[in-house]
């Protein structure tokens, strides 16, 4: 076996509970994004463009859809003879077997997988961020500095710094302190949850961590502080560009809106850094005689007869005559009837909004659908849920599908 310079491990097991009904049946990395993608397309495409051809995807929560989606990795050119993409669920072994207890434990349980490729370095990624990043450049910096670990950081606005894990670095970019959500941040460099470890060092720390009964087996909480304590050489790698954690309904909605602003905050149309996704055999979309579409993206398979303003429309969505969809994200196969009004909403896959219904148009004080997940007045309609003809769903609602 040829040994690998770098193997990537994508942590894709989280539930993403703050996404509410969107992750009831699928893991967060499988949530649709940007008209035709799913969140996992971003780290996978980044890997292949960065020359990393061996990727483990660690799944745990609701893995079926994610597994099916990844398949043999062909869409990302990750069907390789030596390497490629591997879905790694927790497994039972002769004398043990348990769920992934934390991010570090998930990697620990897959040391066997890593051993098979005897990598020099291991790149740890999370499966719930939207960004385009050249990991190869980070790897070069990591090798040049001969660090035990290199952590990607990005400058965030000072007022938001207390929401992140903040890295305090010296003039050479060496990490001297790590603070999780500090009240008074000393720096505005936030950890992006992207780590490159020297494999031998990673293995050593994972082993030690596993045998520490006090540990919660988490990279941010345990491994990184431990390495700092031991005086390992830890470097930061500053990333400047678009990066978004889409862990909440609001941030997911926002990240979609970022694609359609003029000029877009995040541009997917980039020949040299295509985001790959599993393509379906769908016809072009049809725009009807009375339709009006502005400031929006529309994907193949749709049939649009109404008005679309500043929205992201996924594949095979139907929008009937007289309907107005504004500032919204409509997931695949949703059916919007006639004379429907939708504002600032995320409509789940295959949801049905019947004729004359209004979604997100009014604000009421005693909203029976009100949900703490739906902040900033955003409405979330779960996949396959139905909104009846003429029904009004107020701002800030979460409507779940029946019978689940």
């Amino acid at each position: 076996m040829i040994s690998k310079d770098c193997v990537a491990m994508i942590l894709a097991g989280g539930q993403g509970s703050r996404l509410g009904a969107l992750t009831k049946n699928v893991a967060k990395p499988a949530v649709p994004f940007g008209g035709k993608y799913r969140i996992i397309d971003f780290p996978l495409s980044n890997c292949v463009h960065s020359g990393i051809d061996t990727v483990g995807v660690l799944t745990q929560y609701q893995p079926l859809e994610l597994n099916t989606y990844i398949g043999n990795g062909t869409p990302w050119d990750l069907d390789r003879n030596n390497g490629g993409v591997y879905v790694l669920p927790p497994y039972q072994s002769a004398n043990a077997g348990e769920w992934y207890k934390g991010t570090a434990n998930a990697i620990y349980q897959n040391i066997g997988f890593l051993e098979g490729f005897s990598p020099e370095n291991v790149l740890i990624l999370s499966g719930d961020h939207i960004y385009k990043m050249h990991y190869g450049e980070m790897l070069d910096a990591h090798k040049k500095s001969d660090a035990a670990i290199t952590i990607a950081v990005m400058p965030v606005p000072w007022e938001e710094a207390s929401r992140f894990g903040i890295m305090n670095v010296n003039a050479d970019g060496e990490i001297i302190e790590f603070e999780e959500k500090p009240k008074e941040p000393k720096s505005n460099l936030a950890s992006m949850g992207i780590y490159i470890f020297k494999y031998e060092i990673l293995k050593k720390y994972l082993n030690e961590d596993e045998h520490d009964p006090e540990s919660s087996n988490d990279f941010g909480k345990n491994i990184i502080p431990k390495m700092l304590e031991n005086g390992e050489k830890m470097m930061s790698y500053t990333f400047e560009g678009y990066w978004k954690d889409v862990g909440t309904v609001q941030s997911l909605w926002e990240a979609n809106m970022d694609l359609i602003d003029t000029p877009p905050k995040f541009e997917l149309y980039d020949k040299h850094w295509m985001i790959y996704s599993r393509n379906m055999a769908l016809s072009p979309h049809y725009v009807g005689k009375g339709a009006k579409i502005i400031d929006s993206t529309v994907t193949e398979g749709c049939s649009i007869s109404g008005t679309i303003e500043h929205s992201v429309i996924f594949s095979s969505v139907t929008v009937g005559e007289g309907s107005i969809v504004k500032d919204s994200v409509i997931f695949p196969d949703a059916v919007i009837g006639k004379n429907v009004k939708i504002e600032k909403a995320v409509i789940g896959q295959g949801a049905v909004i019947a004729d004359g219904a209004e979604v997100g148009t009014v604000e009421v004080s005693d909203n029976k659908y009100a949900s703490p997940m739906c902040t900033h007045g955003i409405v979330l309609i779960e996949g396959t849920a139905e909104v009846a003809a003429g029904e009004t769903i107020p701002k800030g609602s979460m409507v779940e599908a029946k019978g689940k």
Binding site: G35, Y269, S277, V287, G288, I294, D295, V298
Partner: protein, 370 residues
């Protein structure tokens, strides 16, 4: 349908300038497809696992499109999709008709172990269930089955594009005329034939030995009495693209809901080579109505009654009507277009005006910059 092999043969007609660089089978249609996708998908959906695509010339575009056959799930360890370039050795250097093409792929045909052959032109637009054609063929105990469509009401000059067949009450073929000037019937053959593989082999050998070149005229039309030749009447939409007029019409028909519903039936999908394109993007001034739009388009202008392939850019204040615009074309600010057919990567600079007519759309060759 593992007992049936598929053979796709090219049409000889040319549609300049859009076939200057490719065969009709490889022509873009309905935005993101190529014409061969229809017959190829129908074969795949019928469960045919061995398909040979015979080519005569300019097949690099076609090969690039179908490659290993993966979109049709025809990239198999055994059989699957086979692109068959012409074998000029076997045909003494010339290809005068489909018999020569078939003779060129005679080895492939005899190596295949299926009992039946369904042979079709790579220029048809339809979504047909081939299993029903096969069932009718067996039920009739036919030697050859010819798929046709009753095109009553279609004008004579259009009918003259087809091979026309007369059938009796049992659908047995009584007369065949290929592209007659004065059509006597409206039963238009769709270039789809079913027969046993052994019969096809003997037809190829016999015709080659006699110096015949044409499958229909030489092998079938002359032998109507001696063989059980049946028609299979197809009632769905079907046409053959062999002229600019037919090409334009068969694209524009996709603006009709009934056509989209029938051809893009989710129960028998039409597959095509997929590309990683972003969704289509509409700008703040976009005015798009009655259009079929593929992924990757960026539209700022006014577009009406158009078929847009992938990655077409239409800038603001441009007005495009009744047109077919192929992949990657760029239409700059203030341009006016009506009834045009643009091949790939045509670039129209600011303020230009190009107007064609419905009966004669203005066609512009690939890569032209105006």
């Amino acid at each position: 349908m593992r007992d049936t092999m598929g053979i796709i043969i090219p049409v000889t007609e040319k549609i300049p300038p859009i076939t200057d660089i490719r065969s009709i089978a490889a022509l873009p249609i309905a935005g993101r497809y190529r014409i061969i996708d229809f017959v190829l998908s129908n074969m795949a959906n019928a469960g045919i696992v061995n398909v040979g695509v015979a080519t005569s010339s300019q097949y690099s575009s076609l090969m690039d499109h179908i490659k290993s056959g993966k979109p049709w799930d025809l990239d198999r360890k055994k059989q699957g999709l086979n692109i068959l370039p012409p074998d000029l050795e076997r045909t003494n250097g010339t290809i005068k008709g489909d018999i020569d093409l078939l003779n060129g792929i005679r080895n492939y045909i005899s190596r295949s172990h299926q009992t039946y052959v369904i042979m079709s032109l790579g220029a048809g637009v339809y979504n047909m269930d081939f299993t029903k054609v096969m069932d009718a063929h067996r039920e009739n105990q036919a030697d050859i089955t010819i798929v046709y469509k009753d095109m009553s009401g279609v004008e004579e000059s259009e009918l003259s594009r087809f091979m026309l067949i007369d059938v009796d009450g049992e659908n047995r073929v009584t007369d065949i005329e290929v592209k007659p000037f004065y059509p006597k019937t409206a039963n238009a053959g769709l270039g789809i034939f079913v027969m046993e593989k052994a019969l096809l082999e003997s037809i190829i050998d016999e015709c080659s030995a006699r110096g015949d070149h044409d499958f229909v005229k030489d092998a079938i039309a002359k032998k109507l009495g001696g063989m059980r030749i049946f028609g299979y009447k197809y009632d769905g939409y079907a046409d053959i693209v062999d002229s600019m007029k037919a090409y334009y019409r068969n694209n524009m028909l996709f603006l009709e809901e009934s056509m989209r519903k029938e051809i893009f039936n989710p129960k028998s999908p039409i597959y095509t080579k997929t590309k990683d394109q972003t969704p289509a993007k509409y700008g703040e001034n976009a005015e798009v109505t009655n259009c079929f739009v593929s992924d990757g388009c960026v539209i700022e202008g006014k577009v009406e009654n158009c078929i847009l392939s992938r990655g077409v850019r239409i800038d603001k204040n441009a007005v495009v009507k009744n047109s077919i615009i192929m992949q990657g074309s760029v239409i700059e600010e203030g341009v006016e277009l009506d009834h045009v057919v643009f091949d790939k990567e045509v670039h129209i600079t600011k303020g230009r005006k190009l107007i064609g007519q419905e009966c004669y759309p203005l066609a512009i060759a690939k890569g032209t910059i105006i």
